[in-house]
Amino acid sequence: MASHPVTAIIAKDLRLFLRDRFYAFITLLGLGFYVLVFWLLPAAAEPAIPIGLHLPGGEDLLAEALAEEADQGLEVVVFTSRSDLEAAVLAGDEVLAGLDFPAGFLPAVASGRPTTARVLLTGEAPAALHDALSAVVVEVAVAVAGQDPPVTFPEVEELVLGVDRADQVLSWREQLRPLLLLIVLLVEMFALASLVATEIAQRTITAILATPARVRDVLAAKTLLGTALAFSQAVLLAAVTATFTRQAALLLVVLLLGAVLVTGFGLVAGSLGQDFIAIVFWSMVFFVPLVIPAFAMLFPGTPALWIRALPTYGLAETLVRVTGYGEGWAEVWPLLALLAAWGVAAFLLGAGVLGRRVVRV
C-alpha cells in the first residue's frame, strides 16, 4: 500500500512525459543525432601531434631537421628551457610530447662522442610517436655530422610523464563517446526538471498532497522515473554505439550513478524554475558546468583542478577509462566512489529544494 501513490505518480508522469512533444522531440532527435555523429566519425586515430623541442644553441639546425619530418605530421614548438618543456608536456595543451637535448649534444654528436637525448611523453601519447621522435634524434645527428652517419648514434632515453597509455590511442569515436553519453544524461535533466516544475506551477502538487500521498512519495516517484529515463536512454545509446564490448557490468553501474546524479540536479532545477523559461534557465545553469568535464576529456592530459571539482568529472573520467582504455573496477573505484558521493549530494540537494518548495503552497 505504501508504494501505491509512488507507482500511480510514476505512471502519470511517464504519460505526461510521452505526451510532451518538446521532450519527445528532443529525446528522439538527440539520440538519432548522437548515433549518426558517432558512426560518421573516423574509427581510426589520426594524430597530428604537436611536439616540443629543447636544443640549447641549435634552434636553427632543429628547424632544418624537422622540415624533413613534416610529412610525419609533427608540428614543432621550440622551448628555451628544459623545465618549460617538461611542464608543457605534462600540461598537454600545447604539445603532446617533447624532445630534450642536453647542452653538449651538438658538439658531442659532431665529434662522435656518446650522448643522450630525452624523449618526453605523456601517458596518452600514441606509440608511433615514440618511434617518430627517436627518428628525429637521428635526423638531428645526421644533420650535424653531415652526410656521413656519425660514428656513434646518440642514445635515446624515454621518459613517460603521467600514466603510461602509449599503446592506446583513442579514435575520435572513442573520444566522443563519453561526451555523447553525458549529454544524453544531461538532456534528461531538462525533462525531469520540466515535470517537477509544471507539477508545482499548475498546483497539481497541492491536489496530490491533499490525498493520502506524501511529499516523499512525490520525491520517490520523480527520482525513480528521472533515473530510469536517463539511465535507459544512456544504455540505449551505449548499446547502439557498441560500448558494451568490455566491462559491461561496470559501465552499467557508471551510467546508473550518472543517471542518479543528473536526476538530483533535475529536481533542483525543476523546483527552482516555475515556467518554461525559468526551467530552461536553471537547467542551463547546471548543464554548462556539468558538461565541461566531458569536453575536457577530449583533450589529453590531466584536467585542471577546477574541472576535477565539478560533479560530473568522476562520470566523464570513468567513462573514458572504461570505454576507452578498458579499465576495470580495481582501477576506477575511487572515481566511482567520487561519482556516487556527488550523486547522493545532488539527490539530497534536490530533495531539500523540492521539499521546501512544496511546503509553501
Partner: protein, 313 residues
C-alpha cells in the same frame, strides 16, 4: 458512523433554493465532523487567519463568506492538511490533523481555488490518477463524469475544456473517494447559471447523504440558499456565525416599499419595520391611494456589507 441527513423530515433533495428549516449546526446527538479551534496562520508578517474556531456537523453545509483576502482559502488549506496551523488545532471525524493527516485526507474531498488539473491528460485520466492516489480502483469514473455533465467529454484532454468544464471536473475529483467531509473553495466559480445550479444540487445531495460540507463563495444568493449556517470572516476573524435567517433578522432590516397616488402624482416611500410588523403593515395597507406594497427582507449581502463595510462585486 451512522449516515443520516440532518435536515428536517419530509424535505426532499432539491436542486436549489431549498430554503426551509435550517438546523442549528449540530446534529441532535452533537456529532462533529470537523472542529477548528483557534486557528492562526501568518505569511511572514501578514496575519491571514487569526483565531478561527467553528464546528461542522455531518450533513451540514457551512458557508464561509468574506471579502477577498479575508483568509478563507488559508483557513481551507489548514483544514485539508496542506498548511500546518501556527496555533490552534483541527479535528476531523474524531482524528487530530496533527497526528492522522493521511487518514483524514483519505476521507476528505477538496475543490481547490485554482483549477489544478493536468491539461495534457483527459478528464477521465485525471480522475483515474487521483483515484489511484486514494488507493481506489473501483470508482465508477463514467458515472462521476456524468454527474458533473462531462459524460461525453471525458476522453478529451483537459487543455480543450472550457473554464466551467474544468471547474466541474474538479468537483467530480472531490467526490472520487466518497468523502465524509467536503471542503470546497469557490466550487461554482466561473459556472453558468445552469451548471452552477447542478453543482449546488450535487452538493445538496451529498449533504443529504450525511456528508459535512464547508464551502466558500462570493455569491450571496448561493450562500443563502445552500448553507445551513454561514460564517462571516474578515481579516482572518469570524465576525458572525449563524443560520442565514437569523443573521438577516439580526443584522439586516426588514423594509416595506410603498407606492401611492397622491394628488395625481406617484409617491414612493420605504418604511423600516421593527418588532412585530403586523400593526404597521395593516396601517400601510389602509393608506389612501395605495398602488403597490412590497415587503423586503434583508439579504445576506446586506448582512455582509454590514460586517465587511464594503459591497461585493
Amino acid at each position: 458512523m451512522a449516515r443520516r441527513a440532518v435536515r428536517g423530515q419530509g424535505q426532499v433533495a432539491c436542486a436549489w433554493g431549498c430554503g426551509g428549516v435550517h438546523t442549528a449546526g449540530m446534529s441532535p446527538d452533537g456529532e462533529v465532523a470537523l472542529r477548528a479551534s483557534g486557528l492562526r496562520y501568518a505569511y511572514g508578517d501578514r496575519v491571514a487567519v487569526d483565531g478561527v474556531s467553528f464546528k461542522l456537523a455531518p450533513g451540514e453545509v457551512l458557508g464561509l463568506l468574506g471579502p477577498n483576502g479575508a483568509g478563507k482559502s488559508t483557513t481551507i488549506k489548514m483544514l485539508i492538511g496542506l498548511l500546518p496551523p501556527q496555533a490552534g488545532s483541527i479535528e476531523v471525524l474524531g482524528m487530530a490533523m496533527s497526528q492522522h493527516r493521511s487518514a483524514i485526507q483519505a476521507r476528505l474531498g477538496v475543490v481547490f481555488e485554482e483549477k489544478n488539473l493536468y491539461p495534457t491528460l483527459s478528464g477521465r485520466e485525471n480522475l483515474a490518477f487521483f483515484a489511484r492516489l486514494f488507493g481506489r480502483r473501483d470508482v465508477d469514473l463514467d458515472g462521476l463524469l456524468d454527474r458533473v455533465g462531462l459524460a461525453t467529454r471525458g476522453r478529451d484532454r483537459v487543455s480543450g475544456y472550457s473554464k466551467g468544464m474544468r471547474q466541474r471536473l474538479t468537483v467530480a475529483r472531490a467526490l472520487l473517494n466518497r468523502p465524509d467531509v467536503l471542503v470546497l473553495d469557490e466550487p461554482t466559480d466561473g459556472l453558468d447559471p445552469v451548471s452552477a445550479r447542478s453543482i449546488r444540487g450535487l452538493i445538496r445531495e451529498e449533504a443529504e447523504r450525511g456528508v459535512a460540507v464547508l464551502l466558500t463563495t462570493h455569491d450571496m444568493y448561493e450562500a443563502d440558499g445552500l448553507s445551513d449556517r454561514v460564517a462571516f470572516i474578515d481579516q482572518g476573524r469570524i465576525l458572525a456565525l449563524d443560520t442565514p435567517e437569523r443573521l438577516k433578522l439580526r443584522h439586516g432590516q426588514r423594509t416595506v416599499r410603498v407606492r401611492r397616488q397622491v394628488d395625481g402624482a406617484v409617491e414612493e416611500s420605504v418604511v423600516t419595520l421593527d418588532g412585530d410588523a403586523g400593526d404597521r403593515l395593516r396601517e400601510l395597507v389602509a393608506a389612501e391611494g395605495l398602488l403597490t406594497i412590497h415587503t423586503e427582507e434583508a439579504t445576506l449581502e446586506d448582512v455582509f456589507v454590514a460586517f465587511a463595510g464594503r459591497r461585493l462585486e
